[in-house]
Symmetry: D2
């Protein structure tokens, strides 16, 4: 597989560049019989889309998804679901000045070495714009998991640069542009972002994603453990530099008596494991954290070289997010949904839901 | 793929339980022409093998690898390489008492839910014993990468429970049983482990792995980025709960001006990226850190339930490592080698090395 | 992988139903630097498209392909190429009468058992309409193979129902609506098809596909042999019931002295092998034949059952091809191109063409 | 995947050369709970093994299989099953004379071009000896399919060189060394083979394989159709040059009214489809035929070239089968079993059989 497909039984293959005609993806392996409309997918796309607050890029994209196949009379048929989103607000000339430069912390230099060429407009394929299709595809997985298994997948921002949260109020997450679950930190975050914008700088963030009601038994030892595939999925999101499952790096200094989640007939007494043991879900909440680096596009100049090897100074004038982590919550939810969906199908098959149909025709009249 | 295969073009498929007859693996896709002997693989197997110090499990296994195929007249032929290691020191009766229990923090409960059954002897397939085959397979990748590309992959222990290191002296790593690169911390670690053993407890650890001289251009956006596949590979190691690439979780509080690795014609000025931008190698050192949880097998009793749902108390009497992180360094090196090798082949093909042979026979005499 | 993707390194994933909004595909893994335009792909699409003669379905589709991504300034970038073709001439009401019937020899019954539902309009996903995307994707492979390796892939119709050909004149293939290479049989075929249309019946056909100048050494033993993957690819075309490589079924009655292709320094003396030995190309012409069954949609009534199990009589009123084999030549060429392309990349890598770029930035100023 | 793995959810990966230390394979994805012993697999291995009659190679191999993992207390656990067979009767010096020659119709020339090297002893990896592991792996699939679904997979020889059969008596197949179902043709076949041996020549054969009681609904459109994967699987068997499903090449001259299998409530009225429509099983018998070319190793000299390009004459002195088709029946059965098993799991999942276990521990005491 050439890199743009995720999953074994629930496959998502995406295409599209930041400033191309359209983004698209094919979701292959969705069980038949799921009610599905474009509105179902639009909800999360709107949570991710740019231009919704002053703290994200000012590029205006409707991010209106179209379902081109795989749904008949309002339900999935089991055949591949084709999705597209047209790009409408490209301003490619903003980027012509970077044609010959390798911007620090961007993928310019590494793409050139891999491909010998690159679509430099807005980062081309390396732009986080491609994550729109992940959110659309993840929306299908989320809907299936919720309706058939009661699984709920939700995330929040747990740290914005230096600002950490003190509490998790799930109801608050949707009430502010940061996906912050602590209402008492929102004003601080607003002030921080304003100062940052003024400075022309960017900052990192930390996101937590949680899946509730995942049935025990999902995950494929040895290499396709649920946690290994979650790490894969989450690390594939632009700007992610770290992943934790459950206690994560806190495990290093823990003793065994502290880390192990004791079990009683009434329930697990803690969840340092983050809902996964031996690479297989336990039925506890699956909890993952991710670290996102600061946006690489800055108004503040930095040293670099051009494609001829000359020393240059680079600063970005195009529109961009000052903190890519802010819009990452729905993306991380989508990736977790894709992983869980895929593992559910690996256990139970694409068509396990299908009721045996009648009539069954005998092989031959005599038999 | 059913979970026990890693890689797309350099495929490693493993089998074997802790107390079965043998462990084995098939390495498929190794380019032809590589000189390879059992001794080449034994070196890293000996670094990982149990019973070499008082700080690891006292199980005695020679871990002697056999090459059953794929090598002819001392060189690889391009056909699959079959490897086996026999298990010799199983004491399965040590484990019969856990047949009906779900040990906390072990895979007992999750395996039962997935498979409806489990080989309870020594953890069966969920035992870290399977990692021996990863080290053997990784040894092939390491040798190829070193000989053909000059790539060197090395790791060290950067934290043992509460004890952190102050310096990295690569020459010191092989001189102590902890893979510790800071000679001044070795005595402290010895004392800590003695106290831990006495207490009957276990502890976590942190490992750093570094690959030098990796050519720029390796990695397959979007989903098969080099960092995403590294995260997958490293998280698939038993007991790993966290992964960082480059600056990792420190990125969260960094500003863009601090994080971005500026470039001069003389070289990159820093390496917060950990050698990967846009999911593709840059030519800088690839740096990954992993967090390993404390060993789950403890002499200290913990609460749990049996398979009938009754409340019980569990303590482990079998032999085990008090800190699984200690032996994890060669395993992490092996997994990093497998990822880089696979991506090298995806870029350049399995047979890119093969010199065109003569004679070339025309399609037909007339043509 | 969920069934709608073909290839390991050169991946084609398709979507789309006969009467949906659009067909589409994603071609992932195309090497960068290939000149590519929509016109390049349109040529073969026009050879396959319906409504071009009285011997094919009268559905009128422009089959105009759009390239949505992966091409920048006229050349491929190495990122996924998104393609779509809109459906314009669906007459879905033609098919409402078959909603509750299982037509003999169609996929109605088997789809219902697999999915529990089906898009009955024009056969939905089981319609040969999806092959348009194979032809588009195959066009990319064909162009690469021709420009970089000089490979030419061409096919012809070697039998139409009872009418066999006596000679192969490649120049004639494009001059008649049957892809017939024997000008002396065209009139006979025309008469046969007129009579068949009048009768309301359909008939089978046989197609031969040939690839010239394929370099020796392509194919991956054991399971991914070049001939095995060709068989897979060709059998996946709608209506195909048989595959032959080289001498095919004639091999059964051959003796070893007759079948073996003797070799001289001046060239191979025969080609019963069809250009493949041990699953690997030899440099001779790769020759495959396929048998296509008669179209299943007939005006002549046949016995069947409805979805309630009642005995019914079925005849088709919608537009359809009286001989699906007639339009199969470009499809078979496309599938052969996809297989050869994929195996070329498995040998040589996606980016083997990429010239090393400058500058190469050192890992750090000191190093 | 690098060529030596077959299947998506029921994966078989093999290794081993004709004259290496051992053959082996890993079967990954077998559902847990299947009773399995070495004796279960030995039965088909004995049907395939060499030296059992004067009509096959005189190499003597016990072909004794060992199960190294994945079975606990007599039942599969869901973890990978490692299998090995030691080679005992290699006479490698028989082959030293062919080190520098390209034998006509063998894989010598194509392997050299692919790998730049080859293990020339007995054909190395290209020898049909590797099919022993397919038979072992297929035995697991056969047992599962029979016990859980009542599927029976059986084959017979339908043509030996010029000798065709007139009837199919399944009970007769096991009574003669040819797998011939027509007792009246056995003597003729014996005489033919004696004459052939005397002549030093070889001949082709045709095999039919049938699967009964396959449930409707197996197969994954578009590219992973059941017939496409059967074609892949069967064409991957050494010496196979042609594949037919159902009516196969007879479809070419059939009219639609003749080919279509009409349906009545009492059953299908014919089976030209060979049990597959739209790439999905219908519940009818799945019927495939394969053509095998004559053995390439002959005592009669043939023209060839050596590795220096000089014209030479080649004749084979080593032991070999005069008709490779004779032993192909259990191999073809095995490959069909692997395909059906894989598709069953893709529909229903690896663990669909697993009964929900108790206890289910709540996520936490409070929840």
């Amino acid at each position: 597989m050439s890199g743009n497909t995720f999953g074994k039984l629930f496959n998502v293959t995406t295409f599209g560049e930041s400033h191309g005609l359209a983004l698209g993806c094919i979701v292959d392996g969705c069980p038949p019989g799921l009610e599905l409309s474009e509105e179902d997918l639009q909800q999360d796309l709107d949570r991710r889309k740019p231009g919704t607050s002053r703290y994200t890029t000012q590029r205006r994209e409707a991010d209106q998804v179209r379902i081109l196949s795989g749904v008949f009379e309002g339900k999935t048929t089991g055949t591949p679901i084709g999705l597209t989103i047209e790009n409408t607000d490209q301003r490619s000339k903003d980027y012509s000045n970077i044609k010959d430069t390798f911007r620090p912390a961007h993928a310019d230099y590494s793409y050139m070495h891999k491909y010998g060429t690159r679509d430099y407009r807005g980062g081309g394929r390396s732009s986080a714009r491609e994550t729109a299709m992940r959110v659309a595809a993840g929306g299908i997985a989320k809907k299936y998991l919720k309706e058939r298994l009661g699984v709920e997948i939700k995330g929040y921002l747990s740290q914005l640069g230096p600002i950490t949260i003190d509490k998790v109020d799930w109801d608050e997450v949707g009430n502010n542009p940061f996906f912050c679950p602590d209402v008492d930190k929102v004003a601080e975050m607003e002030d921080y972002m304003k100062a940052l914008n003024k400075e022309g700088n960017s900052v990192g963030a930390k996101i937590v994603v949680v899946a509730k009601n995942v049935p025990p038994g999902l995950g494929e030892p040895i290499f396709d453990r649920l946690d290994a595939e979650l790490a894969h999925a989450l690390m594939s999101i632009n700007a992610v530099k770290g992943i934790e499952i459950g206690a994560g790096f806190d495990s290093v200094a823990q003793k065994g008596t502290e880390h192990r989640d004791e079990i009683t007939p009434e329930g697990f007494l803690s969840n340092h494991a983050g809902g996964i043991l031996g690479g297989i879900s336990t039925g506890q909440e699956i909890v993952a954290s991710i670290a996102l680096k600061p946006t690489s596009s800055l108004h503040l100049p930095g040293r670099s070289v051009d494609i001829h090897g000359n020393s240059i100074e680079v600063s970005t004038r195009g529109r961009h997010d000052p903190c890519v982590g802010i819009r990452a919550t729905p993306i991380a939810e989508a990736m977790m949904a894709l992983v869980i969906m895929d593992h559910f199908l690996r256990n139970r098959g694409q068509n396990a839901d299908v009721e045996p149909i009648t009539p069954v025709i005998p092989a031959s009249p005599a038999s």
